[in-house]
Subunit: 153 residues, 2 copies
């Protein structure tokens, strides 16, 4: 577990440099999902609350990381891209915040992996919950596409 989270941390830090400016942290990955966190200080807006664009970015990465880890656990390697997403900002975020990508249901994971192995392309829709302390402050839904890489990556 620690190894795979370390690999995700390294992947994000080296391959999506803007994540360093978000202060992004990988917190944990368990049956409850993959949780990332970001500090308010680096993502603050004109009102002293979290900038919507930063909240969306952290949610986008939680979903992306969840797919990446799911492929990795299955010995698959591929490119993961976001096809579309929707986000609701429920209330101002006045603290550091987390984004937890909830696990897809088993049948959806099977469909994703089967797509990757049979058609070199799989899809999955994921829900991400953004919290400020215990309070749900935003919800995100993203459709991700995973593609078998043309060459080893």
């Amino acid at each position: 577990m620690s190894d795979e989270l370390g690999a995700l941390r390294a992947k994000l830090a080296t391959e999506i440099p803007v994540t360093l400016h978000l202060g992004l942290e990988v917190i944990g990955h368990d049956a409850g999902g993959l949780t990332l966190a970001a500090p308010l200080s680096k993502n603050v807006n004109h009102q002293g609350t979290a900038f919507a664009g930063s909240v969306n970015a952290v949610a986008t990465l939680a979903g992306w990381g969840w797919v990446w880890l799911t492929l990795r656990r299955s010995g698959l390697e591929g490119q993961v891209v976001l096809q579309d997403s929707t986000i609701q900002y429920l209330r101002p975020i006045e603290t550091d915040f987390t984004a937890t990508c909830l696990p897809a249901e088993d049948a959806e994971v099977e469909r994703l992996l089967a797509g990757m192995t049979r058609r070199r392309r799989g899809r999955v829709t994921l829900r991400v919950e953004i919290r400020s302390r215990a309070t749900l402050v935003a919800t995100f839904r993203g459709r991700y596409v995973a593609l078998v890489a043309a060459s080893a990556d």
Copy 2:
């Protein structure tokens, strides 16, 4: 025109610091809408294309800036917040990119301003087009809420 774009530039740079890391630029504001731009180099992802979270952030700010300028032109001052948004990523973005917030229709602008003056709160739904050179590469729709500030800001 130049004065108001300068004011928007200053507002974004000083009050949403993460925009500096996006390399955000305010390009122009005319009958075609408000256009922001960002370089690929600062927003690159693991595939050498633009990170979805950065694209969403620039689109979010194009809509935000359009509302801010519209209020300012009407002598109104307020807080502008994004309530919800949806984005479709149509194709990989392999160059610097722009986000143009299309102007709302006159009736919608009137409703926004009337809400601000009568109920201290107005709403508007905006469409933002993201382009890589001339090609439409993503579309964004956001619902913004403008609130009369409790005190001068």
